[in-house]
Amino acid sequence: MARRFSVTSQPGFVFLAMLTFFLLYLPVATLVFYSFNAGVSVAIWEGFSLRWYHTAMANEAVQEAALRSAFIAFIAAIIATISATMAAIATTRTPEYPGLTFKYAFINQPLMVPEIVTAVALLIVFSRIKIWTDYSGLGYLIAAHTAFCIPFAYLPIRARLESMDLTLERAAADLYATPFQAFRRITLPLLWPGIIAGFMLAFVTSLDDVVITEFVKSGGQETLPTYMLGQLRRSVTPEINAISTIFLGISVLFVTIFFLISRKKN
C-alpha cells in the first residue's frame, strides 16, 4: 500500500503555518534577546548582561508609570467586572424582552468604534469638564478605562452564565431562600470562574491601552505604555527592551492563568 491519503492536508499549508508561527515569534524573540545586551545598542550584540534591567528598575519615571498603570487597571477592572457581572445577569437566561438587543449593542459598543475616535471624543468632553470643575486627577483615566473594559469583562461572564441553567436557583427558591441568598449561595459560586476570567481580561486590556490613555491623561499622568511611546519617539536603548520584556512576562502570566481557568470549565 502506498502512503495513506490524507483527507485534511493541503499542499504548502503546513509550511505556511510554520512560517507564520516563526514570523510571529521572531520579532518578540529579538526584542527579548537584546534586552540582555551588555552594550547600548539594540542591534549589535556585545555579551550578556542584566544592566538594562537594573537601569529600568532604578528609573523612577518607569516605577511611577508602572505603579500608576497597575493602579488604574486594578480600579477600572474591579468596577468593570462588577458592572459587567450585573449586566450579564440582566441579559442572560431570559426569553427575549424589549431592550435586550439594545443592551447587547450598547455594552459591546466600545469594541465597534476605532480607539482613536473614542480617544479624541473623550479629549473633547474631559477637557471641558476639567475647565468647569478644576479637577484633573486620575478619575478621567479610570472612567475611560472602565468603559472600554466592560465589554471584555462581560464576554466570559456571559458565556459562563449561559452554560448554567436555572434549576439550582429554582430549587433554592423552593426551599424559601430569598433572591439574595440564592444569588450568594448558588449563582455566585458557580459564576466565579467566569468573573475571574472577566476581571483578568479587563485588567490586561486596561494595562495595554495606549491610544485612549495618550489623549485623556493630564500632565504627569504617564502610564507605562504612554511612557514607552514617548521613549520610542526619542532614541532607543535596550532599557526599553528590558521594560517590554517584563511587561511581556506579566501579560503571558495573565493569559496563561486565563487560559487554564477557561479550559477547566469544559
Partner: protein, 307 residues
C-alpha cells in the same frame, strides 16, 4: 384565569424592570465615557475652530468643508484637500492590503491548527493568543527591530551578499504594512479557526471520492464552508487597521500618516478640532458601513461567524 394571567404579566414586568436596574451601572458608565462623548463630538464638528485649539461656540460647517476641500489662504481659490485625500486613500489601501496579507498567512495557520489532534489544538491556539494579548506597542517595537536599517531583514540581506547598504524600510509604507499585518494577524486566525474547527471532513472526503483535486476541494468545499469565518476575520482586521494610530506613528513616521494620525494631528499641532471631529465621524461611518455589510452577510450565511 384572567387573574392568573394578570399576575404572570405583572411578574414579567417586574423582572424586566429588575433587569434594567441590574444593567444600568454598565450602561451608564459606557454612556458617560464612550457613547455620549461621540455625540458631543458630532456637535463639535459643526462649530468654528478656536484660535488655540478647542472651539468657538458658533455654528460652522467649515470643519466638514475642510475634510474634502481646501481654500487657498492667499488667493482664496477652492481646491480639493489633496493631503487629506492622499491620507484617506493610503488608509483604505493599507487596511485592505493588511486584510489580504493576514488572510494569506492566517488561513493556512488556522487550517493547520484545526486539523491537529483535538488535544494538541489548545497548545497551538495558545501560541496565537499570546501575541494577541501582548501590548500593541511592544509588538510594534518588536517589528521595528526587524525593519530598521540595522534590523534583521537588512542584516540578513547584507550577510547573504544580496545588498551592500541597508534598504530603507523603516518610515515607509512597507514598515506600516508589515507592522499592521504582524499586529492584527491573531484577529484573523481566531475567527477563521472557529469556523474551520466545525468543518465536517466527510464532505471533503466526498469531494476526493468524486475525483476532485486538492485545489478543487479547497475552492469548492473548504472555502465555502469557512466563508463566515473569513468575513468575520476580515472585518476584525480591517476596522482596527483603518483606524490604526500606534503602528503608523511609530513605524511610518510623519510622512506616512494614516487617518488615525491625521485625526490626532488636528487635536495637537493642527489645532483644528472641528476638522478632527468631522474626520473622526467620517472614519466611524466607514467602519459602521463595514460592520453592516458583515452583519448582513452573517445573517445570509445563517448564524454567527463566531460560533
Amino acid at each position: 384565569m384572567a387573574h392568573a394571567a394578570h399576575h404572570a404579566e405583572a411578574a414579567r414586568r417586574k423582572d424586566i424592570r429588575n433587569r434594567w436596574m441590574l444593567a444600568s451601572p454598565a450602561l451608564v458608565i459606557i454612556f458617560l465615557a464612550a457613547v455620549g462623548p461621540l455625540f458631543v463630538m458630532l456637535v463639535y464638528s459643526f462649530l468654528a475652530k478656536g484660535d488655540f485649539g478647542n472651539v468657538k461656540w458658533e455654528f460652522s460647517t467649515q470643519g466638514w468643508f475642510n475634510v474634502v476641500f481646501y481654500r487657498d489662504i492667499f488667493d482664496d481659490t477652492l481646491g480639493f484637500a489633496d493631503a487629506n485625500m492622499t491620507i484617506f486613500w493610503r488608509s483604505v489601501r493599507l487596511a485592505l492590503i493588511t486584510t489580504g496579507l493576514t488572510l494569506v498567512f492566517g488561513f493556512p495557520t488556522a487550517y493547520f491548527i484545526a486539523t491537529r489532534q483535538p488535544n494538541k489544538r489548545d497548545m497551538w491556539l495558545f501560541l496565537i493568543t499570546i501575541p494577541f494579548w501582548t501590548n500593541i506597542l511592544i509588538r510594534t517595537f518588536a517589528m521595528q527591530e526587524i525593519v530598521r536599517n540595522e534590523g534583521i531583514i537588512n542584516s540578513a540581506l547584507i550577510w547573504m551578499g544580496l545588498i551592500d547598504s541597508p534598504i530603507q524600510i523603516m518610515f515607509t509604507e512597507w514598515a506600516v504594512l508589515f507592522g499592521m499585518t504582524y499586529v492584527y494577524l491573531p484577529l484573523m486566525v481566531l475567527p477563521l479557526y472557529a469556523s474551520m474547527e466545525k468543518i465536517d471532513f466527510r464532505l471533503v472526503e466526498a469531494g476526493y471520492d468524486l475525483y476532485a483535486t486538492r485545489l478543487q476541494v479547497l475552492r469548492r468545499v473548504i472555502i465555502p464552508l469557512v466563508k463566515p469565518g473569513m468575513i468575520a476575520g476580515s472585518i476584525l482586521v480591517f476596522i482596527p487597521s483603518l483606524g490604526a494610530y500606534v503602528t503608523p506613528s511609530v513605524l511610518g513616521g510623519g510622512k506616512n500618516m494614516m487617518l488615525g494620525n491625521l485625526i490626532a494631528l488636528q487635536f495637537g499641532a493642527g489645532r483644528d478640532w472641528p476638522l478632527g471631529a468631522a474626520l473622526s465621524i467620517t472614519l466611524m461611518v466607514i467602519v459602521t458601513a463595514a460592520l453592516l455589510i458583515y452583519v448582513r452577510n452573517a445573517a445570509k450565511s445563517g448564524g454567527g461567524a463566531h460560533g
